[in-house]
């Protein structure tokens, strides 16, 4: 019972209520401290010099003038970050991305850095560093990068996943194939086949807080790092490894984090700040500008996708294939593979094949963006599904219900599903009043499904009971969106005490064991599981203390509603002992009362969502307005429904921006043309309607409370749902994301010209 991961359907008293978050007051009064809000005595200001070229050989860096400038305390280049990676190419890639090593691989690639007494001096010093570049041919488009003769981004890369192994360098770092059955035979059985190609442009997570840190390294090899991150334990391990420090001697504290969405799962400036601090022997604060965030952190991929799906006249899919080309930026990654894994995961398919290409270009290293890779694959697949339903003359929801994956379905990426929520989200969509609401002129409705994996991973929790019976819950997963409230709810539930009696904090790396990143929708799932176990661990101690107080056997003590109760008629004279009484007596019953748990919270399962969207498109300008939006998603169990809704709404809003506006625009010179919020326009308050949510609760069998991760899946359906809505509104199939006004107008005009030519 105590450490059983399985769902037990217990009744809840406080879990599921909408309590105020513990960090709320700090965040509405301006007291919460984020990455750039820390100060250290004697701190310097760091700044980074970045390549203006998309691809160049760095012949020489002359920093002598910068070093001589009054107020400059350190200048670092790759020479100050020697390769200690011991043949681990993935680690060397991280190091090279943080600081160029003889070659610049994208516009914005860090080349050198300075630390000076103030920002003004640091800026002046950067201008004094002379870099001798030999500009090389570059490539920034995913399809161009795959063509023969394209400039090679990484000469050491040989395409993996090809037999026999190639001997020549290629921009395709790996090819990943998934699927089962015989797709050719399947297509032969189909009455209708739809085949189409799609493109999506590169977008950025767009967190409002730029990357920021305060690093302090001492000559004795110890150091501290205050940083905005999704995972300070991982940052500690990576930074220690890259700088040759000992893990235990580098203390990393995660500040409040001003948004991450995957973008703060990688180190970018932190090893540089540590190297500057080490060289200057002073604390160094390094904060990115917004321009740097766009040019030199990890956006998501741009993609080019071909989808082919066949079905019988009565609406059964007989075969499906997808070829997915994802640009990973300048370093090999797995994003194309993930696109191939997720593309058809919503459906029960007899014959399916998806092939993912991971492609290198001269753009910044790609990072995860919520459910990485899945939205672009879903855009292609869900758009094709909609066209197929239309050709067959079947309602798009009915068509999806007919082909939806269910328990026992062999997933397109291999394994067989347990209990899953795609069917219920589709049923809920079918029955939702939104599906029946009337539409006006120039309006269209679309819907789409989405899939994403959930992660568990290494997790560690401490629960300490104070002398007054209040509880400090110490977790190591960074709170990106209110998870401290959820963790405190879980501890209160287990201990049987009011929520207000629990205080949840995120520990630094010297105060708690290792915790993996807050990524893969794992925060509430895994720290929630560890909290359940830590609380049960503490209850064991509380029962023992009560037994000792009463001098009875511990097996006769039960924990009920925050109290120890002696069981059996022979103990009916003993009145119960509250957590407060036990805590007050603890010095004389054995000392501090605490519970701990260290767990690998594997078995997080998978997650599904269905979105419905109404748009109105102005046929004169091509401008699209989302007028109604509904998110339906399975949360397993919503610990704090407000923050579950918040994840649904936030993912939908990011998807709306991606679908309609946001894109990286590269010039022919390989430079990013719009590295700012003015020209890279994310949705503002007046762009959006209220975003309706419906939380389904289909318990996850592998979590004591049935929790599923909810953070990422909400970004998967929007591109397709909105594309289907826009296509229905304008009567033309939209195949290129974002559907900005010029693209929509062009599509409408081309369609008109075609129709006129046909007439």
């Amino acid at each position: 019972m105590a450490h059983d991961k399985h769902f037990t359907n217990q009744e809840f008293k406080v879990v599921g209520t909408r309590v105020p978050r513990p960090d709320g007051v700090d965040k509405v009064t301006g007291r919460a401290r984020y990455g750039a809000d820390a100060f250290a005595p004697g701190q310097l200001v760091g700044a980074i010099l970045r390549s203006p070229h998309a691809h160049a050989k760095i012949r020489k860096i002359d920093a002598s003038k910068a070093e001589k400038l009054k107020g400059v305390k350190a200048v670092v280049t790759s020479a100050d970050l020697p390769d200690l990676t011991n043949g681990r190419r993935d680690m060397l890639d991280i190091l090279e991305n943080c600081m160029a090593r003889g070659r610049a691989l994208y516009d914005g690639h860090a080349v050198a850095a300075v630390a000076a007494i103030d920002a003004e001096t640091a800026r002046k010093a950067l201008k004094l560093i002379k870099v001798d570049y030999e500009v090389l041919p570059h490539v920034t488009d995913v399809d161009e990068a795959m063509k023969p003769g394209a400039p090679i981004v990484q000469p050491w890369v040989r395409t993996a996943g090809v037999d026999p192994a190639p001997t020549k360098a290629s921009n395709v770092s790996q090819i990943s194939t998934f699927g089962h059955g015989d797709v050719e035979a399947g297509f032969a059985e189909a009455h209708v086949i739809v085949e189409r190609s799609y493109k999506t442009e590169q977008t950025h997570q767009g967190y409002i807080e730029p990357h920021a840190c305060l690093a302090s390294v001492n000559p004795d090899g110890t150091g501290e790092l205050w940083v905005t991150t999704q995972g300070h334990f991982v940052f500690r391990n990576v930074c220690a490894s890259l700088l040759g420090m000992e893990v235990a001697k580098l203390k990393v504290t995660s500040s409040e984090i001003g948004g991450g969405f995957g973008g703060k799962t990688h180190v970018w400036i932190e090893p540089v700040a540590l190297a500057l601090s080490r060289k200057a022997n002073r604390p160094v604060k390094l904060v990115m500008t917004r321009d740097e965030v766009f040019r030199a952190t990890g956006p998501t991929c741009s993609t080019s996708v071909d989808v082919k799906i066949g079905a019988t006249r009565d609406g059964i899919i007989t075969a499906a294939t997808a070829t997915l080309r994802y640009q990973d930026g300048a370093f090999p990654a797995i994003w194309g593979m993930l696109g191939a894994m997720t593309s058809f995961a919503c459906y029960d398919l007899k014959n399916v094949k998806s092939v993912g290409y991971d492609v290198l270009v001269n753009r910044p290293k790609v990072a995860a963006y919520r459910a990485p890779s899945a939205p672009m694959a879903a855009f292609g697949v869900e758009s094709t599904i909609d066209q197929l339903a239309a050709e067959i003359g079947m309602d798009p929801v009915e068509f999806r219900i007919k082909n939806a994956a269910k328990e026992g379905t062999r997933a397109s990426y291999g394994p067989t599903y347990g209990p899953i929520g795609i069917g219920p989200t589709l049923q809920a969509a079918k029955n939702h009043p939104h599906m029946k609401a009337p539409l006006g002129r120039n309006q269209g409705r679309g819907m789409a499904c989405g899939f994403w994996f959930n992660f568990g991973g290494q997790t560690c929790v401490d629960l300490n009971i104070g002398v007054d019976g209040t509880v400090n819950l110490t977790v190591g997963t960074v709170d990106v969106g209110g998870s401290r409230a959820s963790m405190a709810l879980i501890a209160a539930e287990e201990l049987g005490i009011p929520y207000e009696r629990v205080r949840c904090n995120v520990a630094d790396t010297v105060s708690l064991g290792h915790n993996d990143m807050t990524e893969g929708s794992r925060g509430t799932f895994s720290s929630g599981m560890a909290t359940v176990f830590a609380a049960r661990n503490a209850i064991e101690v509380l029962r023992e203390r009560a037994a000792r107080t009463w001098d009875i056997d511990v097996s006769k003590v039960e924990w009920q509603d925050g109290k120890a109760v002696a069981m059996g008629s022979e103990h009916s004279n003993l009145s119960s002992l509250s957590i407060e009484e036990l805590a007050a007596a603890s010095p004389n019953t054995g000392g501090p009362i605490a519970g701990h748990n260290e767990v690998v919270a594997d078995g997080a399962g998978v997650s599904f969502a269905t979105h419905i969207c109404d748009v109105e498109v102005d046929p004169e300008t091509g401008k699209t307005r989302v007028i109604r939006y509904t998110v339906i998603q399975d949360a397993g169990k919503a610990i704090h429904p407000d923050y579950v809704e918040g994840q649904f709404q936030g993912g939908a809003a990011q998807g709306i921006g991606w679908a309609l506006n946001e894109e990286y625009v590269y010039g022919d010179d390989g430079r990013l043309q719009n590295p700012g919020f003015l020209d890279y326009r994310i949705p503002v308050c007046s762009d959006l309607p209220f975003i309706d949510t419906q939380i389904l609760e289909i318990p996850n069998p592998n979590h004591p409370y049935g929790v599923r991760g909810v953070g990422e899946t909400s970004i998967v359906p929007p591109l397709a749902a909105i594309a289907n809505a826009v296509s229905n509104a304008v009567g033309v199939r939209m195949t290129h994301i974002p559907m900005s006004p010029p693209r929509i107008l062009k599509a409408i005009k081309a369609h008109r010209a075609e129709s006129e030519a046909a007439a």
Partner: protein, 162 residues
Amino acid sequence: MSGILVATTVNGDAVEFVCQPRETLLEVLRNRLGLTGAKEGCGTGDCGACSVTVDGALVCSCLVLGAEVEGRAVDTVEGLAEGDQLHPLQSQFIKHAALQCGICTPGFLVAAKALLDRNPDPSEEEIRYALAGNLCRCTGYDKIVRAVDAAAKDLRKQGRKA
């Protein structure tokens, strides 16, 4: 580099500081006065995370020079609560879960107060347009709009100005 001596009022208190001619009000607030509630999200006036008011007018403090606030009254998120009482906007932001990461929250609160100061009974559309200069990437704005609407109702009930 000679500094400029500036005498101003911040959250009702008389304050003096020395700044460089090109230093922004945001840099002064954060680096010289220790008021880190206003955040730098872009430095170009596009995100609103650094919103403060100067003589009651809503501004992006990254676009105002420190030297410009001589003799003016600057109000920031740190001055929003009255004594130990949170402002109704602050209370409703917590109650409605109108923040996730919270980095944009100070700017939204200052902008929302500026709205309610001039329009105590805004429609949903008026709230949305008044807050269109403040970017939030976490919430989709849904719960922010509801929180501002609820705070406006609270203030009207109490018969007080924002």
